[in-house]
């Protein structure tokens, strides 16, 4: 049984990846270039969270 911390962080990582998937797919569907650009502010912290901040 892995430590509880790793289990919870695994869930967090899955959740982060899912939110990123939603944000990126909405960015690709968006028809307003400024709204697309605003996605940078969401994707950057979530991307860092996905890989480093644990």
């Amino acid at each position: 049984m892995p430590p509880l911390y790793i289990i919870i962080m695994a869930f967090y990582t899955f959740l982060t990846a899912y939110i990123l998937y939603i944000v990126v797919s909405n960015t690709l569907k968006e028809k307003n270039i400024w709204e697309q650009a605003m996605a940078i502010f969401i994707i950057v912290p979530l991307f860092m969270r996905l890989f480093f901040i644990k």
Binding site: I6, V24, T27, I33, V44, F47, K54
Partner: protein, 399 residues
């Protein structure tokens, strides 16, 4: 003009990833130890894990510098970096390590007591990740500028309420990562309590007579430019305060209240027989809540227009003008108080302590802090890599 929104969307995603890469490297760089170049006075460099082996391989492990004199005398411990965003405290510790030589007695310095706090900072407070100190030879020394509490990745999750051990005093949940609320510590406690226990073991095993804990506080806070002492240390801190007057420095004095638990001076003074324990605070605009522009210069230069205005309205507990409270003044205060406390210890307890190379307030103000730091070796310093990792990375890599 027809815009290909799918292409622009992918460009946004690619730009986000490109921005994330340097930011991630910047974030991870805080996990590496700062460069400290011990001066000739340092006779031994140990680690907290030499006193409590359970800390080895964790971010709680930190360096312990010992400066031993030729003759026995008073044993003094200087703690700094309990709060890693208070550079006036930990830079004073760095100056002692890099510039002091003990002739009689023993000086133990733990400059980054809460090493875990140095591995992350408070971006939402606009705090810089590092501060830069210029040296007289043109070089620059860079130090991490961390946060008040330890890295949440080592301590996750914070409880709703932090119940301090052993008092049972209730504090806000994030204070569970505050080293200066976790004393006396315990070996099987939280991450921060284990670090506090390590420092208690340093006090016990090195037979410390006088312990000083160096901090900074907001200028609008009543307890600033002041010292708080364990009841046993009332006499020496009062004597030191009188000694400070000779340098034109006011230092308020109070006895650490019995009802405010977890502090280094209160708890270690209670559990270690005969220990004189003192905590000191200088004024740092960066700590304050009414500050203006917050950047890497503020903690070093200490100038803030909002504090000038607040001083004119009489809302501060320290004198403040356009020159502010730069790092050199705060370090000068701490070092002068250190010397005066050592003198007071000898006068009251008869334990001699002789030290060279520690400047008084006027000297630090004249020469600036970089004058008392050692130059970097030619060719730069070697990258020591990651000694310890936080959170999930440690759990996945430790043996």
């Amino acid at each position: 003009m027809t815009v290909n929104y799918r292409l622009s969307g992918w460009l946004v995603v690619a730009a986000s990833v490109l921005i994330s890469v340097p930011l991630s490297f910047s974030y991870v760089s805080m996990w590496k130890d700062d460069t400290i170049i011990p001066g000739l006075g340092v006779t031994q460099v140990k680690w907290l894990s030499d006193y409590v082996p359970e800390l080895k391989g964790t971010l709680g492990d930190t360096r312990v510098f010992i400066l031993e004199g030729k003759e026995p005398g008073a044993n003094i411990l200087v703690l700094s970096g309990h709060h890693s965003d208070e550079p006036g405290g930990w830079m004073s510790g760095m100056v002692l390590i890099e510039h002091a030589r003990v002739e009689v007695g023993k000086l133990v310095v733990i400059p980054q007591a809460n090493n875990s706090g140095f591995t992350h900072n408070y971006p939402q407070e606009a705090h810089a990740q590092s501060i830069t100190i210029p040296l007289p030879n043109g070089q620059k020394r860079v130090y991490r500028h961390g946060s008040r509490t330890g890295n949440s990745a080592e301590h996750w999750p914070d409880p709703e309420v932090f119940i301090q051990y052993p008092s049972g005093q209730k504090l806000s949940g994030d204070e569970v990562r505050n080293l200066n609320r976790s004393y006396p510590g315990r070996i099987d406690g939280t991450f921060t309590e284990r670090t506090a226990y390590g420092i208690q073991m340093v006090v016990r095993k090195e037979n410390i007579n006088l312990q000083m804990d160096l901090h900074e506080a907001q200028p609008e806070y009543p307890f600033v430019n002041a010292a708080s002492a364990h009841p046993r240390a009332q006499d020496i801190v009062t004597l030191a305060s009188l000694g400070m007057q000779a340098h034109g420095l006011d230092m308020g004095v109070e006895v650490s209240p019995d009802s405010f638990r977890g502090l280094s001076n209160r708890e270690l003074g209670d559990v270690v027989p005969k220990l004189m324990a003192v905590t000191m605070e200088t004024a740092n605009a960066e700590q304050g809540k009414i500050r203006g522009i917050t950047d890497a210069r503020l903690p070093v230069e200490g100038k803030d227009a909002f504090y000038v205005a607040a001083a004119k309205l009489g809302n501060l507990f320290v004198p403040w003008d356009e020159n502010g409270w730069p790092l050199k003044r705060r370090v000068g205060r701490h070092l002068t108080a250190f010397l005066e406390l050592a003198t007071a210890l000898e006068e009251t307890e008869g334990k001699p302590f002789r030290i060279e190379g520690v400047p008084f307030y006027n000297e630090v103000v004249k020469n600036d802090v970089g004058y008392y730091l050692n130059p970097l070796p030619e060719g730069g310093t070697k990258d020591t890599g990651f000694r310890a990792l936080p959170g999930i990375w440690r759990l996945m890599t430790q043996e």
